[in-house]
């Protein structure tokens, strides 16, 4: 039985190669993976390629249901490093092939469910808040000076 | 000697058959298109809102699910209560039950905010939720009725028929208890939060299910030219009358109980007197058209013997049932939540006011699509499976009953009335 499965596996691999070769002829380019910020990822690349969805799934349950807010496998942190803009361009959205996640997911034809609710881009902390009223912290909206307002005025950024 | 009841597929080659097939097919496609539209645009394009969260699709879906369990009754009467004269109808009864449930569930699922996450509903369970139980009750119902059908249609299954029939009967009672309790166990809303809703839904299901069964049986025999006995019909329509009367009784008890409690006075005034469209639907559609009119028809000495009138009575019960669901589901939500008993409340979020709702075209298309799914499934099933007896004339049916040791119990003129068993005019199968 195992032998048969092995043979089937080989046949499947051969077919996949053929299909890939055919694909190359039809000029489906390999995904161009956008460059990330930072020196290295939180896990080795091959571990990430294979298991990123497991890390994210684990993290999402830990964070939402238990209130654990470690950063290592957090989607926010992924996006913070990996979703980067080319000079002079805005950050790519998830429906663009320049978006880190979409680049591979489009190629692999795997639908991402994350960005139905999550923002697909990191917060742009460098951007002056006044230019983007949607991210204006609530403290700055109030009429009186509060601790929050002071923090905002001091750091130009809402406390996390 | 006991004459043999012979089951045979209908031919299904007439233009009439294909016309029905095409009609139901188009309605199914329209329903799917409507669901796709609602999902891509978001539900703001429907009539629903944050005040009326379950709209027209739920009216159709809950009706279909309630009717599904009721449609199984004819089979239950035969195998659980041992009335052999209904035995030849049991196969259609079982298939119709599964088809109606499938139609209702399709509507329910397609109206979800995230129907693409159906797999989540199948893998994550909160066992305190009646909805979670219902997922098992519905799938279990389909499985049990499928086994029940096998015991009826396969020689090998025959010994298990009685057990399967009993299991299916108990299961369907639990299932409708679950459906009624979806509303009955909601403490938040004035129109719900009543233990009577579970048994009331069971009684509704008897009436709605039998009405749909008659609406399938009559054309299935009339349009194919197969004989259908007047005595059998007389018994079925009398049964429908009893179920409709029982439904009215439960509705009366529900409202009288509420009227007695000062706390519920205003919600009752809303439904019974001042609720505008809900009051009209309650009195005109649910009570008059869906209750009193069919009772008058089926127990009328002349009208009650005519097939067209029996079919009309059954159709009225279905319309009344949809009206009942509209009043229960949408009327129950339209009445504002009582946040501060005895006080007047107002806000920017419709507190203290009757919520507005108007069914939108996509919602109606989805609901009708669910009915079409059920009917299309039945139309296909009776063509490919031997579900319908070739003949259901009175001598044959009564012989079945006699062989099982039952008295005819019917009026003797029933045999004379069997002249009506002659094929009704119309297209042949």
């Amino acid at each position: 039985m195992r032998g048969l499965i092995g043979h089937l596996g080989q046949a499947l691999a051969a077919l996949t190669l053929l299909a890939a070769a055919g694909g190359a002829q039809a000029e489906v380019p390999l995904p161009k993976i956008p460059k990330a910020k930072g020196e290295k990822c939180v896990e080795p690349t091959d571990v990430m390629r294979r298991n990123h969805m497991k890390f994210l799934l684990h993290q999402r349950d830990d964070t939402l249901r238990r209130g654990i807010r470690t950063k290592k496998h957090s989607l926010k942190e992924c996006l913070g490093c990996h979703v980067t803009a080319e000079p002079g361009k805005p950050l790519p959205t998830a429906d663009s092939p320049d978006h880190f996640c979409s680049a591979c997911h489009r190629y692999a034809a795997v639908k991402i469910d994350c960005f139905g609710c999550h923002n697909d881009r990191p917060e742009q902390s460098g951007q002056p808040l006044a230019q983007n009223p949607r991210t204006l912290p609530d403290a700055a909206v109030g009429r009186r000076v509060t601790v929050e307002t002071l923090k905002v005025l001091a750091t130009g950024e809402e406390a996390r | 000697m006991k004459p043999h009841v012979h089951f045979r597929e209908i031919e299904g080659r007439s233009p009439g058959y294909w016309a029905l097939f095409g009609l139901f097919g188009i309605l199914v496609l329209a329903g799917l298109a409507a669901a796709h539209y609602m999902e891509t645009e978001g539900h703001w394009v429907t009539g629903m809102s944050n005040q009326i969260v379950w709209g027209t699709p739920h009216v159709f879906a809950v009706f279909l699910i309630v009717a599904a369990s009721g449609a199984l009754n004819v089979a239950s009467i035969a195998s659980v209560f041992g009335k052999a004269r209904y035995k030849p109808l049991a196969r259609l009864s079982a298939v119709l039950a599964v088809a109606l449930l499938a139609g209702g569930l399709a509507v329910l699922v397609l109206d979800l905010g995230r129907p693409d996450r159906l797999i989540v509903a199948m893998t994550y369970y909160n066992f305190k939720s009646i909805f979670a139980w219902n997922i098992f009750l519905y799938t279990g119902f389909m499985a049990i009725v499928a086994i029940y059908l096998w015991t009826m249609m396969d020689r090998m299954g025959r010994p298990y028929g009685k057990a399967a029939g009993l299991a299916a009967f108990i299961w369907r009672l639990i299932l409708t208890t679950g459906t009624g309790s979806i509303f009955g166990w909601l403490v938040a809303r004035q129109a719900y939060d009543a233990a009577i809703m579970a048994p009331m839904f069971i009684v509704f299901s008897f009436a709605y299910g039998l009405a749909v069964f008659l609406l399938v049986l009559l054309p299935a025999y009339g349009w194919t030219g197969r004989p259908l006995g007047a005595e059998l019909l007389r018994r079925l329509k009398n049964l429908l009358g009893v179920f409709v009367a029982a439904s009215l009784y439960f509705v009366a008890v529900y409202h009288l109980t509420n009227l007695y409690a000062a706390e519920h006075g205003s919600v009752e005034r809303f439904i019974l007197l001042e609720g505008g469209v809900y009051t009209r639907v309650f009195w005109i559609v649910q009570i008059l058209l869906g209750g009193i009119a069919p009772l008058v028809i089926v127990f009328h000495p002349k009208l009650g013997t005519r097939r067209a009138w029996i079919a009309t009575a059954a159709a009225l019960v279905v319309i009344g049932g949809l009206g009942q669901m509209y009043v229960t589901i949408i009327g129950g939500q339209a009445y504002p939540l009582v946040l501060f008993p005895g006080k007047e409340v107002s806000s920017t979020f419709f507190d203290g006011v009757v919520a507005e709702y108007a069914p939108s075209l996509p919602e109606i298309a989805l609901g009708v699509g669910g009915i079409a799914i059920a009917l299309l499934a039945v139309l296909l099933a009776i063509r490919v499976l031997p579900l319908l007896p070739e003949r259901l004339d009175d001598p044959l049916v009564e012989a079945q009953a006699a062989a099982a040791g039952e008295g005819s119990g019917g009026r003797t003129e029933a045999a004379a009335g069997s002249g009506e068993a002659a094929p009704a005019s119309g297209t042949a199968g």
Binding site: R66, T70, N119, D138 | G113, R114, E344
Partner: protein
């Protein structure tokens, strides 16, 4: 992460919060009500977060809390009141016999026995160990049974596409949402946006804190002045209490 490191971090967070308590705006005393947990520390049953809303201090016509929540959590609508979300709303209550009126904010009451959690088929509607009731949108199928079950109409169904949601408050079409008690802020040792806005407005009608800590401001106020639940007859043991109802 070693134990000492954790406690040091906690100490620092506590110190920061205490410092925040000293920096007061005119007429407003911001007490260190919440202490940030270490990120790896789960929410605990040792706490139960709640709000105490003083209706006598809640100004009629003021909607600072609503605006603050909208900005914080990004649930700006589309100008369609019937289908737009409403995590928090101002409700006017009038006694028809006496003409006495009150104004109060109404949001998710964070019940200890929440009907929305009971009825949810998938477990998406959930109550965190520290009492915050949330929707796990990862497994919400949009059936809206929770909205049928909630006696406060606290939940909204997302009827349309959401553009550019806040990273700390993800929200998406086809799922249900409601007040999160600003869980992202609470976990960071801060108070909910509505509380902050109400204080900034000078009303200070909302107090946030730990109902299980007898030394907390909310517990002390409850002990001194009492506090009522909306629809207390339902026995849901809400985490949001009101002063000056009835």
């Amino acid at each position: 992460m070693s134990g000492t490191d954790t406690s040091r971090r906690r100490f620092l967070a506590g110190g920061a919060a205490a410092a925040a308590g000293l920096l007061v705006a005119p007429g407003v005393m911001l007490l260190p009500v919440a202490r940030a947990r270490a990120p790896e520390e789960p929410a605990s049953e040792a706490q139960r977060w709640g709000l105490l809303i003083d209706t006598t201090r809640c100004a009629d016509g003021c909607d600072a809390c609503v605006r603050a929540c909208k900005t914080e959590n990004g649930w700006e609508g589309h100008g369609r009141p019937a289908t737009d979300p409403q995590w928090i709303r101002k409700v006017k209550v009038r006694d028809p016999r006496t003409g006495h009126t009150q104004s109060l904010p109404l949001m998710c009451q964070h019940c200890r026995k929440p009907p929305c959690v009971d009825v949810c088929p998938t477990g998406a509607s959930m109550r965190r160990a520290d009492g915050i009731v949330l929707v796990d949108k990862h497994i919400c199928i949009g059936c809206r049974y929770c909205m049928m079950a909630c006696p406060y109409k606290a939940r909204s169904f997302v009827h349309e596409d959401v553009h550019d949601p806040k990273p700390h408050a993800p929200r998406g079409k086809g799922t249900v949402e409601s007040c999160t008690l600003c869980v992202h802020r609470v976990d960071a040792g801060r108070v909910p946006a509505c509380v902050e806005a109400c204080a900034a407005e000078g009303n200070g009608a909302i107090v946030f804190g730990d109902l299980k800590d007898p030394r907390s401001e909310i517990s002390q106020r409850l002990a001194r002045y009492g506090g009522e639940e909306i629809r207390a007859d339902l026995g849901l043991d809400t985490g949001v209490r009101y002063l000056g109802l009835s």
